[in-house]
Symmetry: C2
Subunit: 503 residues, 2 copies
Amino acid sequence: MTPEAAYQELRRRAREEALLASCADLLEWDEETYMPRGGVAHRSDQQALLAGLMHERGTDPRWGELLDLLEASPLAADPGAPAAVNVRWLRREYERERRLPRALVEEDARVTTLALEAWAEAREDDDFARFLPWLERLVVLARETAAAVGYAESPYDALLDEYEPGLTVRRLEPLFASLRAELVPLVRRIGEAPRRPPAHLLHREFPVDRQKLFGEAAAAWLGFDVERGRLDVSAHPFCTAIGPGDVRLTSRYDAHDFAEGFLCVLHEVGHGLYEQGLDPEEFGLPMGEAVSLGVHESQSRLWENFVGRSLAFWEHVFPRAQAVFHDALRDVPLDAFHFALNAVAPGPNRVRADEVTYNLHVLVRFELERALIEGTLAPADVPAAWRDAYREVLGVDPGNDAEGCLQDSHWAAGLFGYFPTYTLGNVYAAQFVAAARRDLGDLESGWRRGQFAPLLGWLRDRIHRQGHRWRPDELVERVTGAPPDHGPLVQYLAAKYEALYEL
Amino acid sequence: MTPEAAYQELRRRAREEALLASCADLLEWDEETYMPRGGVAHRSDQQALLAGLMHERGTDPRWGELLDLLEASPLAADPGAPAAVNVRWLRREYERERRLPRALVEEDARVTTLALEAWAEAREDDDFARFLPWLERLVVLARETAAAVGYAESPYDALLDEYEPGLTVRRLEPLFASLRAELVPLVRRIGEAPRRPPAHLLHREFPVDRQKLFGEAAAAWLGFDVERGRLDVSAHPFCTAIGPGDVRLTSRYDAHDFAEGFLCVLHEVGHGLYEQGLDPEEFGLPMGEAVSLGVHESQSRLWENFVGRSLAFWEHVFPRAQAVFHDALRDVPLDAFHFALNAVAPGPNRVRADEVTYNLHVLVRFELERALIEGTLAPADVPAAWRDAYREVLGVDPGNDAEGCLQDSHWAAGLFGYFPTYTLGNVYAAQFVAAARRDLGDLESGWRRGQFAPLLGWLRDRIHRQGHRWRPDELVERVTGAPPDHGPLVQYLAAKYEALYEL
């Protein structure tokens, strides 16, 4: 067999795996958006079957044969060439997949579908006890996964590595420590500032149907192709790429909270732009896939915060918002609106958190889930540990579990090791924006005129089209000239909020 | 291996097949309801992969081993016992599946997804030429399928048998000839009657959002469990059962045509009630599946027409309709509304056809698709043949292809041999209603009070819960005491319309 023929077979197999995975993705999207309640047991069986099938195909020894042949061939010689990238990352996936027993993979798919339903009910009724047996099962499954995959220091490392290749507790601890050291004093100074944002303006009446239309319009302004995607409503906003040409976003809307729904839309649009920017010719192959959750989150946070909370963006968008939400906004000056949108106030909720406190929410989750996986925290003790951590780090009390440890769906979905990528996303985003400014010059003058295409083009070229060409930390260094570093994020936050609050 | 162990393995395999098929069903539902346009190429690849996987698993020789063992065991001795039913029908499916080459199955799945998209565009632009290459490919595929499956007299028989086991051209020809002989004179007498229905009343303004809510309410009144299903909008209404607890209906609405949207809802509700009435314990097995499309259609037509166009039904529902559509209906007397809903007028459209002319639409399709499959009609000649047949049988001219041969999606979906089951459904429905009246006494007095549960309970018991226990014609004979017979349908239509039109 020639290397070329082996490579074609490898591509075909990888694409088929991705096609099957995309069927599971559609089932999950449907579960979160339109599935009737009665469908959950059947959906759990469907997901378990697909997970089992994918695992069976993903562990076929034929992968090993093809990869052995290709790794020794000239096709894999240049590490930056697409074929070499695909071979390298498919090897990684194959080795990881092979270590997982099929029964564990199926059990995981089945349990998470049911656990998500239980979590939704538990959150609705503020009843942690109903979710507890599921959380216990999920932690056991995550620990079994970590043990099967293998790790050097902490079982939590095995989970981190799934979402952010190469990430470890050893790398995360100093990052969170530095952020905490910089951000806690900034939050305190802001809290003591005499200047207060008119946050109440964003809690006037913003009809939900208008918010939906306005969100769709905003998605299009930023460059999201609505013919190749859609925007729906779900309890927990997300973005999922079913395939090239079919990228789906969701948001949630509250008639008395404009910021939450709109910023959620921009956040998911950021994810969607990354997915729409991938190379469709490489669909299903590492060269055509997002490189990591951290880089994914850098895209969502960039559009949500660096663009969507900027004054320049609103100079363009605010008159449009006033036209749609006339009753709520006609008497509001732009600078008051902008200040309200950037109000900093420690609260119990991560998704609704401002830019400054956001990473402290992630810090709490990182410490708790690491302890769960390392076995130093029992699932039953999560509510108390959560409250203690929020009091200590953010100085707030969630009041109840629905607004506390039940607020996020991640654990119910079996996603341990996922939260830290949110903070990495913020760190990367600050570095990317600084680099884009270096390459493109002043960005804000374009935003003021509704021109987002230069920035999007830069991201497409430097990041989206690179797929898995480089490891996330290598990508950051190639694009920005520096390795991952919290400095630019802290400098951005300090400069922006010192000016806003006149510190 | 004991027969009991073999039977458990057979059940497990059949359920897994059904689970995989239900993933494909959800993909199809999504394609018709929410999928963005850009997703169609990827969807086609997904469906081809799933079809190939299902075929690969469905033709595993292990089926043959298990079936051989079970057919010779006491489990298969009593033909009406669930195990015997499952063994008998799974043998039929396995033999059919084995005869189809995998490449044909995958090609069929891929082509129909793309052809449906082309058909929708062709219909929108009244451009048959755009659909023609797809129709040609689909006819070739259907003929290849018939050749692979095998048949005694006509290749069309091999296709009919897929939807209505045991049905042949030889059985259909006299049925359609008798209906034509009885219905054409009835249509003529109605056309000459001096009494005319006030059809314009149903073309007043009926806001679409209110129609949707009213349709959902009506579904619940008839007994459709909305916690275990949903109702959406699609260009071509349909019902699909994703699984027990997840039965989905669609309808379409026109603000100036109350009858079309509402009767579509009742029609799909009828299908949905059958699916919700199946035995969930037997999901994925013949005992837990609808026995044929003809019997399925008998359920939809029964609720749509025998109930939903009856005066008794509207004595209960009309005041509710007046409350919701106050502007359109407040000055309309019940009997005028009822007469308008039962207006008989030959037209070009099947879905919007009245009860009397409906089967003549099916007759046209039967003759044309039979000719396509037997090779006596070229796809390019369909538009002309369609117009000729409509002029001859119904005395109308469709005017254009969008309202003519492009009106239905069936051929684009590769469904040749499907249309005749619509007429069988009408025939069976008339027989079932007569039998229910014999068993339950007067039905209308309950409908007048909104009581549909006795009829639904009777259908559940006699038909839904029987699954594939008997062949469709055997089922009709067991439930009604007579084999399939067009007599009751003709008598029902003659009696109802002679009274309405005072013939």
